[in-house]
Symmetry: C2
């Protein structure tokens, strides 16, 4: 069982506690926020970025790729109607490496996939998720 | 469009950026984490806690309830099979207030509901979500 807690501090400003780690969330300014922290709905796509990032860097390391930079950007498009959920989520993986092995048979980095991350498996049920790789080889 | 970014720092430790705010996430110790931050899958339920917390505190304020303490605890039970998604999520709202108005017709705090929060609307498609109120009146 995983437990997290959000405790009201002031206005629309909450302290989030996860396993002894604390950070703040706040509302959009239209609804009383003062930018004291990220908006909480964005933690869904932040969780997705972290989860799939860990998944993919593990694969790159297992494949003995020498990665010098790795980041995951997640772009979430929201519905115009309330509750304005994310309808389409794009995941962009940016990999820079000194060696990068393509798959022998199809010339692609097909060992890279994102389907097994937990957050991905959950959010896929609520939104359309696409992904893209930007790969830069250093020599 | 909402954009977030996870950038690899070291080992399984990523910097998460959301609208200029930064915090760390890290993996579980079994897979190389050193507790440098929360595990990213937990951001899903943290986002849920923050989102529905903002929703409910807004309702309490509209109803002119004098809230002295408010927190939302979210407990997520994971599947035993990979990718070990959250299957059942319990949301516990703890409200302490000097005045608390029950609904005239049914004696319940039926103006409190959590269905409209964005994170709730999304995660409801992936997990079974239940909720419970713990209400304490101060005199």
């Amino acid at each position: 069982m995983d437990t997290v807690k959000a405790t009201l501090v002031d206005a629309m400003h909450f302290d989030i506690e996860v396993d002894g780690h604390h950070f703040m969330v706040d509302a959009a300014s239209e609804v009383g926020g003062i930018d004291a922290g990220p908006q909480p709905v964005r933690l869904l796509i932040a969780g997705l970025a972290g989860c799939t990032g860990m998944d993919v860097i593990s694969i790159l390391r297992k494949k003995r790729q020498e990665v010098t930079h790795f980041e995951v950007e997640v772009n979430g498009a929201r519905a115009t109607d309330y509750p304005k959920v994310y309808t389409d989520i794009e995941v962009v993986y940016r990999v820079r490496a000194t060696t990068l092995t393509r798959h022998r048979s199809n010339g692609r980095f097909s060992y890279l996939r994102n389907g097994t991350a937990r957050a991905m498996a959950m959010l896929r049920k609520a939104a359309n998720i696409t992904n893209r790789y930007e790969i830069e080889q250093e020599y």
